[in-house]
């Protein structure tokens, strides 16, 4: 089962701290596979493969526009997050899932499934999207009858630690695409960026970000073949993750009491 939380607009630092908290809870088995869906104020993030020269704007420009910069541990180069962009952070334990073939689900298989879910969300709104081999992310081709390069509508970058995923995807719905001029997105200079409102035939019918978030959660459930459950609030979520009574005394307590180490720890 996948539980999901729609958090609205959350500052980047706060979301990062929340992710770290949830990764630990997931590792301890106190929560199940969880999908965070949210929006960020304008921010640039640099991943592990980032080249600082891909940030085209000067520090002064960024400061003037209120755009903050963060170095983080996800894969990938530089990307921009901002209002109108749906952010998804799946905190999944890959060891709890299997690929369709029955084998282990590796991190790259997981990325492919995430792409699949987002491709289907595009399909829900009548937009034909797909993958480009070698370029992770979700891409739209030129419109029928026109020519032109492919455009990236969703960027993906994840971190995996002991089987638990963090970071995830950034899906442009009504993002201000001119903000992407601050960077070479993911280090790519020859392929522009797209957003859903410019791809659908009738932008006025495109629902609000929250509705698209629910649709994304639904498609995650379809693609990962899991029931999907909406959790009302972070408070409710944390309350349910409350620690149970431990099965045995903590090791430090045992040592203080002079008890011998048991051969098997629960």
């Amino acid at each position: 089962m996948i539980e999901y939380l729609y958090l609205g607009r959350v500052p980047y630092d706060e979301a990062l701290a929340l992710q770290n908290e949830l990764v630990e809870l997931r590792r301890a088995g106190r929560i199940g596979n969880t999908l965070l869906l949210l929006e960020h104020p304008p921010v640039l993030t640099l991943g592990r493969n980032a080249d600082r020269s891909n940030v085209l704007a000067s520090d002064a420009t960024l400061a003037n526009r209120g755009v903050t910069l963060h170095h983080i541990n996800r894969g990938g180069d530089v990307t921009y997050h901002g209002p109108g962009q749906l952010i998804g952070y799946p905190i999944f334990d890959l060891r709890s899932m299997k690929a369709a073939s029955g084998n282990r689900l590796g991190p790259v298989d997981f990325v492919r499934l995430m792409e699949e879910a987002l491709i289907r969300v595009c399909g829900t709104y009548g937009v034909h999207a797909g993958r480009i081999p070698g370029l992770t992310g979700v891409w739209c081709g030129p419109s029928a009858g026109e020519s032109g390069p492919d455009r990236k509508i969703a960027a993906i970058g994840i971190h995996v630690s002991r089987g638990i995923t963090s970071h995830g995807f950034a899906f442009n719905l009504t993002t201000n695409l001119s903000d992407f001029l601050l960077i070479n997105p993911c280090g790519i200079t020859d392929k522009p960026v797209a957003s859903l409102n410019l791809e659908v035939s009738d932008p006025a019918c495109l629902p609000a970000l929250e509705a698209v978030a629910h649709e994304a959660a639904r498609q995650f459930g379809m693609v990962f073949a899991e029931p999907i459950l909406a959790v009302e609030s972070l408070h409710a979520f944390r309350a349910r993750a409350a620690e149970d009574t431990p099965l045995q005394p903590p090791r430090q307590v045992e040592q203080l009491a002079g008890l011998p180490d048991p051969p098997v720890r629960a």
């Binding site: 991943g47 894969g75 990938g76 369709a100 590796g106 034909h128 070698g134 002991r162």
Partner: protein
Amino acid sequence: MPTDVVMPQMGESIFEGTITKWLKKPGDAVEKDEPLFEISTDKVDAEIPAPASGILTEIKSPEGETVTINTVVAVIGGSDEATAPASSASTAEPAPAAPKSETPKQAAASAPAEVPVPQDQPAPIVSDEPLRSSPLVRRIAREHNIDLRHIRGTGSAGRISKDDILRYIAEGPATSTPAPKAPASVTPLKDELVPMSRMRSIIAERMLESRRTSPHAYSIYKIDMTRIVRLRERNRAAFEQRHGIKLTFMPFIAAAAIDAVRQFPIVNASIEGSGIRYHGNIHLGIAVALEWGLIVPVVRQAETLSFPALARTIADLAERARTKKLKPEEASGSTFTLTNSGVFGGEYGTPILNQPEAAILAIGGLKKEPIVLTDSEGNDTIAIRSMQTHCLGFDHRIIDGADAGKFMTVFKDALESWTREIV
């Protein structure tokens, strides 16, 4: 007991990995599940946990090295091998400061060779071709100062495996005469007996059985597909946008075949005992050739499907056949089969019946040809048209040449005078 740390598999079709960072050094204590090294690919940064607790005794693959999956990249010695001062010897506590200064630096893989390669005796150069080894073998060669050209590889086309180089290090240059390999630009034919795979032996049995059961006869018709070609060109973009799949020729041919089958139900029949079973539905089999064999996914009740639904079903079945996601019931039960012989570039094929069906239609290659066209006044001109030759294979026990000919005429007319709406 030492534990091997191996390169994990990041995805189902990924067979290598690159270590981007070691989080521990040889001599460090590690706990089971503690992050030990990092792999970074395209958009994934993964910390790989240690499989066991103990002291990291050896790193075999340094940062930046790409190795195939399941290669041993490091070794974690059992904690009894640790020369660290015994805190609790049974459980490996990550003792922070003490062990490092006292543990002798374990021989990392960069240690000099222990077996001296005889330098005085010039080893013969076995082969001069480049790239006959993996990065791991080349690294071992660098460390031991070995020229790879002196080693004879036992892999395919003379490839040097890790065993080859380790054997060379242990034994020195090969004493047996290194047989000079035939110039590898021409791979010689191999005389070998390869047992048939299960799928191949089943196909072999079925083909023979089909020929034995039915007397096969063939009716071959050349069909002018120009109208369909133009129709497809005009509508493919709109079709793809609306239905999300590419518009190929297959749904046109399938739809025309279904029309013709409706008018000549004998081609959609089977022999049952001493009677002829006319099937109430057309379950259209679409033969798909895969690397590992043939499979015939079935479009059930094809006569009830609209053109877009037919196209979609065919595309979906073909895709799932290729990715091995078909359910068994989706690959059996056809009453009439289409097979694409033209995809290989020839004119047409002479297919073998998919028992217990009575007919099978082989689609030929689509080619531009000069054709004589007669106009309404009887004047002849030569025009360039897209022609495709289709071949109907049939069971001559219940289908006669006349039936086959009439079926093919209706099929041909359906394609040459296509009027159906498709989008």
